[in-house]
């Protein structure tokens, strides 16, 4: 069955062209033109077939893409790709902080967007055949169940955060470079944006660390990358 994609874009022509392009890639696309509509469509979809991925333009009238991301994140861990015309760091980091898993900048190469979507969807279906449970102090990771528990309480992670944690856990104690994490979690090549890793590590810390500013589990190894402390 075709993956369902929710497309949120206010510019009608861009939206239509994107829909045509994505449909040609074999996806089932639903269009909305505002953040409010997107939330509504997402809520509606929960009854039937929910969306596998959401593509959100950041510059939307009314509720902007950041706000839409934040609202969606409150109720769902669905992969989100943000589309933005701005490339400055502050803007991109804000989008990632709001909960986007990845981003493309306009005018994007349609093939690039398709590749990003494929990577996120493929990842969402990946089933880990690693150990059933990994324990790191007060943190318990259940790769197969897709669950993380902290002091016995379930922690809600997005798919990206979860995979990031699993990747670090699978290499516990070893340092993974940003490039390695980009490749394994986002399917990026060497030139992926390291900010993706940094922002997601920060978000992950706010969920699994007692004090995110003084992390005990997800540690920074300066100049090299990140590692999970056993």
């Amino acid at each position: 069955m075709a993956s369902r994609i929710l497309l949120v874009e206010d510019d009608e022509r861009i939206r239509t062209s994107m829909r045509l392009s994505l449909e040609d890639e074999g996806y089932d696309v639903e269009e909305t033109e505002s953040g409010e509509d997107a939330l509504e469509a997402h809520a509606r979809s929960l009854v039937g077939q929910s969306f596998d991925l959401i593509v959100v333009d950041i510059m939307l009238p009314g509720m902007d893409g950041f706000a839409a991301c934040r609202e969606l994140r409150k109720v769902s861990s669905v992969p989100i790709i943000m589309v933005t015309a701005l490339t400055d760091t502050a803007h991109i980091v804000a989008g990632l902080e709001a909960g986007a898993d990845d981003y493309v900048t306009k005018p994007f190469e349609p093939k690039e967007l398709a590749a990003r979507i494929r990577a996120l969807l493929r990842r969402a279906r990946t089933t880990d055949d690693g150990p059933v449970s990994l324990v790191f102090g007060d943190l318990e990771i259940l790769p197969e169940a897709g669950e993380v528990r902290k002091e016995g309480q379930e922690v809600h992670l997005t798919r990206t955060e979860f995979l990031l944690l699993c990747e670090l856990a699978a290499n516990a104690g070893k340092v993974l470079s940003r490039e390695q994490l980009l490749e394994r979690v986002w399917s990026y090549d060497y030139f992926g944006d390291g900010r993706l890793v940094d922002v997601h590590v920060r978000r992950l810390r706010t969920k699994v660390e007692n004090d995110p500013s003084d992390p005990r589990h997800v540690l920074t190894v300066r100049g090299l990358g990140y590692k999970l402390a056993p």
Binding site: Y190, F191, G194, G223
Partner: protein, 558 residues
């Protein structure tokens, strides 16, 4: 220093007093005797004020010390001389008295004189009172003066000791007598030496004090200037909201307010430019997104199109691709101009960075990276680095039949990456211009290669500058061109940042900016670190014949 019987003005003191202004004059001349222009050019304002204060203090204290010394000296010696002369005269009178009483002067001398060192001459015969006194101790001038019946005295140096000889003539039985008494002046001389030492010390201290006060005053006076310079640097470094406190120095209010006004206008202008760029950015990107996306749909269905339509589609695709690149390049350049391009700097290893970059650019020629160079760490924005290298590869592809060799070498704090081709080369007169916007050089005017934007090398130069380096082109041996990018190699960094890479912009965009300082886009030439060897072309010595200097290297890398 022979003095007449009547005590006149103290010659010694007079001469020395003359000396005093001499000494200080000499010191005063010491500095001006340096080549004047050189002093002016090389000494900073603070140093000059300090020197002036020190010299002033030296002249003043030197003069005062000299005057003090010589007046004390003259009064001390006069006093001593007067009392010693009296003593000698008294002794002579006693001797005369004895002689009148019928005693031989020579015996009387032995009797009266006790321990005093004296000698008398009578009728050409010398009679010393003790062995330590000799005829030769008395200078001839003094002797003849006394023999001519004048009272005389002279300060002489006997065996290293200052001795005052007072000569008194008197008459005695057996002929006129010249009586000389010798007085040891060591004590007075010692006192004077101590005084001199104290005065010299005082002068030195005063001079140093003058220097300190001068330095302090100069620093204080220059502080507003320093603050202004810092503010200007900070603005140049991208902190556009830097202002001077307007009430700090009331007498510099004009300067402060003028500076702030300038900064206001500059900020306004840059922000307006930035807004405009951002607007243009958005306005161009949206339609392009639609065009590119719609075109991709058509490309996906090319097989379904009639032959002629497919041909038209190919043309459209190629031109849209080129148009996109042009827009991308233009936007990139305008963002660079507006200082908006934040540097997402990371510390990476040069070898893998180059290999990945070259693979991404589909480069298949020789890669020559010595292991020692490949291991070096560089602080770069990977995407900018990729742009630089990719643009150079593309440039060689387009105008020189493709690159043949990419090499890296390291020289101290710099890594140099060279992209070499065997094309027609770049004529010397075009080596700087080639990095200008839309300048393609003679060979580049052939538009056959098609989708060049004319901005590639300009972007390379801008990025190299933002990465703290520069780029230039030189001949590649006898044939072809060699584009060299020079980048700073990163020294090991401290452990204070949260992110794995040194200047990750994700955490603190401003810190990323400061990691690789953004310089104003002037194309100033920086003193080349390259050895000034004749460019034989074949040698590996990097000597940019027409180097396009893109940036001054950061004064101090973090």
């Amino acid at each position: 220093m022979i003095r007449g019987g009547t005590r006149g003005p103290d010659e010694g003191a007079a001469v020395r007093a003359d000396d005093a202004p001499h000494v200080s004059h000499g010191a005063g001349e010491a500095a001006p005797s340096l080549p004047r222009g050189r002093t002016r050019r090389h000494l900073g304002l603070a140093a000059r004020v300090t020197t002036t204060f020190a010299l002033g203090a030296l002249v003043l204290s030197g003069t005062l010390a000299s005057i003090t010394y010589f007046s004390v000296r003259s009064s001390l010696i006069n006093q001593e001389e007067t009392s010693l002369a009296h003593e000698a005269v008294a002794t002579a009178e006693a001797l005369q008295g004895q002689s009148e009483a019928g005693q031989s002067v020579v015996f009387a001398l032995a009797e009266i004189n006790g321990n005093a060192a004296s000698i008398l001459e009578q009728a050409g015969q010398w009679y010393p009172s003790s062995q330590s006194v000799q005829e030769s101790s008395v200078p001839a001038g003094l002797r003849s003066l006394v023999l001519n019946n004048h009272l005389g005295e002279q300060l002489v140096d006997l065996a290293g000791k200052p001795v005052l000889i007072v000569g008194v003539p008197f008459r005695a039985a057996g002929g006129p007598v010249a009586y000389f008494q010798l007085f040891d002046m060591s004590e007075v001389a010692g006192t004077l030496r101590t005084l001199l030492g104290a005065l010299v010390l005082a002068s030195v201290v005063t001079t140093l004090g003058g220097a300190v006060v001068g330095r302090w005053g100069a620093r204080r006076a220059l502080r507003p200037l320093r603050e202004t310079a810092q503010a200007a640097l900070s603005i140049a470094g991208g902190q556009l909201d830097t202002r001077l406190a307007s009430d700090a120095y009331s007498d510099l209010a004009v300067l402060t307010s003028a500076f702030n006004k300038m900064a206001d206008r500059l900020q306004e202008r840059i922000e307006r430019d930035a807004r405009f760029t951002s607007d243009v950015n958005h306005e161009l990107r949206s339609p392009l997104t639609t065009v590119a996306t719609a075109l991709s749909v058509l490309e996906g269905r090319r097989a379904e199109l009639p032959e002629r339509a497919a041909q038209a589609l190919d043309l459209l695709s190629a031109e849209v691709r080129r148009f996109r690149r042009l827009v991308d390049d233009l936007l990139e350049i305008s963002r660079l101009d507006a200082g908006l391009g934040d540097v997402n700097a990371e510390e990476v290893t040069l070898g893998p960075l180059m290999k990945y970059t070259l693979a991404a650019a589909r480069y298949q020629g020789i890669i020559d990276i010595p292991a020692s160079v490949g291991e070096r760490r560089v602080l770069v924005d990977k995407l900018r680095f990729e742009r630089v290298l990719a643009n150079l590869i593309e440039n060689a592809d387009r105008y020189a039949g493709g690159p043949v060799r990419v090499a890296a070498e390291a020289d101290g704090a710099w890594a140099r990456i060279a992209v070499e081709d065997r094309g027609p080369g770049v004529p010397a007169e075009e080596r700087e211009r080639i990095f200008d916007r839309f300048s393609r050089g003679a060979s580049g005017r052939r538009r056959g290669a098609g989708d060049g934007t004319g901005l590639g090398l300009a972007i390379v130069a801008e990025h190299a500058r933002l990465l703290g380096g520069r780029v230039w082109v030189e001949p590649n041996g006898s044939r072809g061109a060699r584009f060299v990018v020079e980048l700073p190699v990163q020294p090991p960094v401290g452990p204070e940042s949260d992110e794995p890479a040194a200047g990750s912009a994700a955490a603190q965009p401003p810190s990323a900016k400061s990691a690789v300082p953004l310089k104003s886009p002037t194309h100033g030439r920086r003193p080349s670190t390259a050895p000034a060897a004749p460019s034989t072309g074949a040698s590996r010595v990097v000597q940019p014949p027409g180097a396009v200097t893109t940036a001054e290297p950061p004064a101090s890398e973090p």
